[in-house]
């Protein structure tokens, strides 16, 4: 029943590309589904679900960014802005035309994809750090535009209130409702990314990442695929922005500033570039780390310091620990949490008969 692979015994391309390489993968996915759809939402307190919701939103954004950075090798420091494009598109559609969430979600994603592709145009000519900073410029220009064009921002406050999403007659307003709502999209995003990377498009992306001139020579249309990578990645970002808007009940561009772009980069680098699982791990890690550090400090900080000092200590220590952990990770495990997970798995795979 429980059997593991003991070598690469695949004889067809279909087997090599299969979504579930082994029967046990099916069982793992089923078990995870039970855990995430039943056990967690039905047993945990709303607070933990709210944290989970923040993680889910981050997972979708991180997956999208990883398609661009990890799989296609194009750096973007503008993803926060693409999220805001999605958020404002959805908010305007919902408020002005009364569009329901399925419409705004797709529209927000598509609009972000369009803007993302435009910001990605310089990628055809410039590379690496120059491109990174060009996307940073994109971020600032989008922020500026939303901030100043009242047609988009809905007034000087640049914030548009949005009603909670509805499912039939049910209004999704508790954290538990949002949990299910978001989880569906997380699953779609994961399956979507996995399948995208098994397709012709995904292979083209990877070829471009590995060596774009070589890719061009073997007949990959760099122009099309680079922009496609920006568009797909921004589509995810736009969807993230829309979901975030529904989660908070408001679209506000100050929630999508440069710091957000950097947080998402941190997620995929810590998690592992070019890996779906890594994106998920990274999103979980970056979202939970400050919270866990705070809990730890609250529990043990009082042993060493005065309560007033602890209050000042926690945030600064958290900041320093966050920075240190990022650096330690980069030095010790450059391929991120995903690699760490593989190492652990391969250790147990041959356990107890490791050679």
């Amino acid at each position: 029943m429980i059997h593991r692979e003991c070598g690469v015994l695949k004889t067809t391309y279909e087997a090599d590309m299969a979504l579930y390489p082994l029967p046990i993968a099916r069982w793992t996915v089923a078990a995870l589904a039970v855990l995430f759809f039943l056990v967690i939402p039905l047993t945990l307190h709303e607070y933990f679900l709210s944290v989970a919701n923040l993680v889910w939103i981050a997972v979708i954004g991180a997956l999208g960014l990883n398609i661009l950075v990890g799989y296609t090798g194009q750096v973007s420091i503008g993803h926060g802005a693409f999220m805001s494009v999605g958020a404002y598109t959805a908010a305007n559609l919902a408020n002005r035309l009364g569009a329901p969430w399925p419409v705004t979600l797709v529209a927000g994603g598509l609009m972000a994809a369009l803007v993302g592709a435009v910001v990605g145009i310089p990628s055809l000519r410039i590379k690496g750090l120059y491109l990174a900073i060009a996307t940073l410029a994109g971020q600032l220009i989008i922020e500026w535009t939303i901030n100043h064009v009242t047609f988009i921002s809905g007034g000087v406050q640049a914030s548009i209130e949005v009603a909670r999403p509805r499912l039939g007659s049910m209004v999704l307003n508790t954290q538990r409702d949002m949990y299910y709502f978001l989880l569906v999209f997380v699953v779609l995003a994961i399956v979507g990314t996995l399948n995208l990377m098994r397709s012709r498009i995904g292979r083209a992306f990877i070829a471009i990442r590995d060596q774009d001139i070589a890719a061009e020579i073997i007949g990959i249309n760099i122009f099309r695929y680079k922009l496609l990578a920006f568009a797909i990645s921004s589509f995810y970002a736009g969807v993230t922005g829309v979901l975030y808007t529904y989660f908070l009940g408001i679209a506000n561009y100050e929630q999508f500033q440069i710091g957000v772009s950097i947080d998402y980069l941190a997620m995929i680098i810590i998690g592992g570039l070019g890996s779906v699982l890594g994106s998920i791990f990274g999103a979980i890690f970056v979202t939970l780390l400050p919270i866990v550090i705070r809990y730890a400090m609250e529990a043990f900080g009082g042993v060493f310091f005065e309560p007033q000092t602890v209050l000042n200590l926690i945030p600064n220590l958290r900041l320093m620990m966050f920075g240190t952990l990022i650096i330690v990770f980069l030095i010790v495990e450059p391929e991120g949490l995903n690699r760490l997970w593989r190492n652990i798995r391969s250790y147990f795979r041959v356990w107890p008969f490791a050679y």
């Binding site: 607070y47 919270i291 730890a296 900041l319």
Partner: protein, 417 residues
């Protein structure tokens, strides 16, 4: 394997801390929890590191006197680094820990939490920041600005300029220097209205973030526009830069007024000290200085514990604001407990408690607010202080101006929705 061990240890620490944290809040049922959000490490940490200790000191003072009707108050603080997801998380955490009222911090944060606060029926305060339209208690029943909003501040500043310029603004030129974000642009509509009403010429000068340099704007104000008065609405490090640069181009600082986030000791220090900023006017929504009975009591409390008074008390503008915010929360809780002596108060009770606050002045540190179920701002009262001889000196008492214009804008904003 080392990495795996490290991971395991982290997980153990995490679960251990979760377990340790849980029972601490469970016991004494009479305890009343205030959720406090704070920014001690983010872009506005200069405010947070002083304001939040003020909040805690006042709560400690109340507790040292036996709490509110015997109920101890617990102020749970979480630093959100001015990030929205962290603010959402800390909101949910406070809710889980039973907070019946919340001191929110930051404009994007109050926007992000507004819907939640209303759905969960927990009052949240946004003193001196957030949307000016939130003063409308009917439209935002659970949001309490409890201090002059940006609209009231701009109106008061215009009124002050009028008095400084001889009681008539006709034909005068007023420059409005603002941080180019939603908070900075918010007062413009009120100022434009006042410009037509009073007949002065208004010109706006945007300072885009990060606002580390504003030579061009300041040159324009002093040399091209030749403003008669300057209203400055800047945040973070930008107020210091504005003071210094205005001084540099030879513009007299006694014709400049900074709104509430451009008016603290830190802003003056950053500009090079009180000597440099001599003459600069600062708008305040809490009393400034150390000479208030409540501050003496806090110092007494520390003395009794054998500890020196905290160094944050020296930065009186932000510290006193912290005390003010805490005092209004405690007062609202007091009112709520009066209405429900069994001590089982909910967010709704505290909301009603806020709406009963009237003439609670704490010896002059708090303006004589009158919060009602329609006016959550409490009258839009401010004081103007001036940098004079190395310290802030009071120039005006609590006042509000053009409240009719402000009310009109609040109405219009409600109608637009």
């Amino acid at each position: 394997m080392r990495q795996f061990l490290a991971l395991a240890v982290t997980l153990m620490v995490a679960t251990g801390s979760l377990l340790a944290a849980a029972p601490a809040h469970a016991q004494s049922k009479a305890e009343i929890v205030i959720g406090v959000q704070c920014d001690r490490t983010g872009p506005t940490q200069i405010v947070g590191t002083v304001l939040c200790p003020g909040f805690h000191d006042y709560v400690a003072l109340v507790n040292s006197k036996g709490g509110v009707d015997g109920h101890p108050i617990k102020a749970l603080e979480i630093d959100h680094e001015y990030k929205v997801p962290a603010a959402v998380e800390s909101y949910e955490r406070h809710k889980k820990d039973g907070a019946v009222t919340m001191a929110i911090y930051g404009t994007p944060q109050i926007y992000a939490l507004a819907a939640k606060l209303t759905e969960d029926r927990i009052p949240g305060t946004s003193p001196g920041f957030g949307s000016a339209a939130a003063a409308d208690g009917q439209r935002y029943p659970y949001i309490f600005p409890i201090a002059a909003t940006y609209w009231s501040q701009a109106a008061a500043a215009t009124d002050f300029a009028k008095k400084q310029l001889g009681g008539d603004l006709k034909g005068k030129k007023i420059a409005y220097v603002f941080y180019d974000n939603p908070a900075g642009r918010e007062p413009i509509e009120v100022l434009e209205d006042l410009a037509t009403k009073e007949g002065f010429q208004l010109k706006t000068f945007a300072v885009p973030p990060p606002g580390v340099e504003m030579g061009a704007q300041v040159l324009d104000i002093a040399q091209r526009f030749k403003a008669d008065f300057v209203i400055s609405h800047l945040f973070g490090g930008a107020p210091s830069v504005s003071i210094k640069e205005l001084k540099r181009v030879g513009y007299p600082l006694r014709k400049v007024i900074g709104l509430v986030w451009a008016s603290a000791e830190a802003n003056i220090e950053g500009a090079g000290g009180f000597g440099v900023a001599e003459g600069y006017y600062a708008m305040q929504f809490a009393g400034v200085g150390t000479d208030y009975p409540v501050l003496n009591e806090i110092r007494e409390m520390y003395k009794k514990q054998g500890k020196p008074a905290p160094k944050e008390m020296a930065s009186t503008v932000f510290y006193n604001r912290g005390v003010l915010i805490a005092a209004l929360h405690v007062e609202a809780i007091r009112n709520a407990l009066k209405a429900k002596p069994d001590g089982k108060i909910t967010g709704e009770d505290v909301k009603k408690g806020f709406e009963k606050i009237s003439n609670f002045t704490l010896g002059g540190l708090v303006p004589p607010l009158k919060i009602t179920n329609t006016d959550h701002e409490g009258g839009g009262l401010v004081q103007i202080w001036q940098v004079k001889g190395g310290k802030f000196e009071k120039v005006t008492d609590w006042f509000a101006a053009y409240q009719d214009v402000v009310a009109k804008h609040i109405r219009e904003s409600g109608a637009k929705k």
